[in-house]
Symmetry: C2
Subunit: 161 residues, 2 copies
């Protein structure tokens, strides 16, 4: 919210926090988009690649659920990553309907590079953020992540990779 100041938690109603989180998320993404574009990846691509890199041989459906988008959206996103040589897809030998997605060496490297860029950006931003503030941010991360994830656990298949 475009309020000039946020005086502690005496005014921190859930309404206030919800609106401020919403606004902060929008603006944070717009800032990070600049850094992400340096990797040649867009935000959604970087996010999906991150899931693939850390998740092993994920299926497209799982990836769509994890990223909270519909299958067609993820299908196109993955197609872009394949075209860029960052992931490869393979038909599952057991259930030939499903597509398993793996990161390539280049995919892993690019993710690391993007991470490095965000680190440098964040490190610069953190110059004006004290140790206590950083600590508070770390403490809040788990809660923020819970709020940002859908309520149910999406996993139905195990990784086979």
């Amino acid at each position: 919210m475009p309020r000039p100041d946020h005086p502690g938690d005496c005014l921190a109603t859930p309404a206030e926090i919800a609106t401020r989180l919403h606004s902060a998320a929008i603006h944070l993404l717009r800032r990070l988009r600049v850094e992400d574009s340096a990797t040649g990846l867009t935000g959604p691509q970087a996010s999906a690649l991150s899931v693939v890199v850390f998740g092993g041989a994920v299926t497209l459906g799982d990836l769509a659920r994890a990223e909270q988008v519909r299958p067609p959206t993820m299908s196109r996103l993955v197609a872009g990553l394949v075209r860029s040589g960052l992931v490869v897809t393979r038909q599952d030998p057991v259930d030939r309907r499903v597509v398993r997605i793996r990161a390539t060496v280049q995919g892993r490297a690019l993710l690391q590079a993007g991470r490095g860029r965000r680190v440098r950006r964040l490190a610069k931003d953190l110059e004006g953020v004290g140790r206590g503030e950083f600590r508070a941010l770390v403490d809040a991360m788990t809660t923020i992540e819970r709020l940002s994830r859908p309520p149910v656990a999406p996993s139905s298949r195990k990784n086979q990779g």
Copy 2:
């Protein structure tokens, strides 16, 4: 990050926090989009309207800077809000190049309604969040907002509202 758990801050490097914030912002927006769509507004529209409602008679350029988008993007966004009757634009009498934007009564009402929806959604989500966690979130909000805003203050003109 798709890590199964985040054990406190012993592993909380800036790299980790940067990546997790990035991912959390993406997913939070995707969740809130569902609620926002119930108001008939998209995320960027809701965010811009919020600035107009709380900011008075903002100029289009200031609005673009506040929202971290280019003027053409904001121009079209505002056009949509005008078409929906949520804001009105007026030529500045002093400098006839600039466009001043004001919220209408409907605009204010709709923003409040959207806020109510997000509140209900967040309240539901907060069922699984303890008082201490909420407190940590509140403490971190100011820092998050600083990270999400561009480093420089964008205001060059005063509100004339």
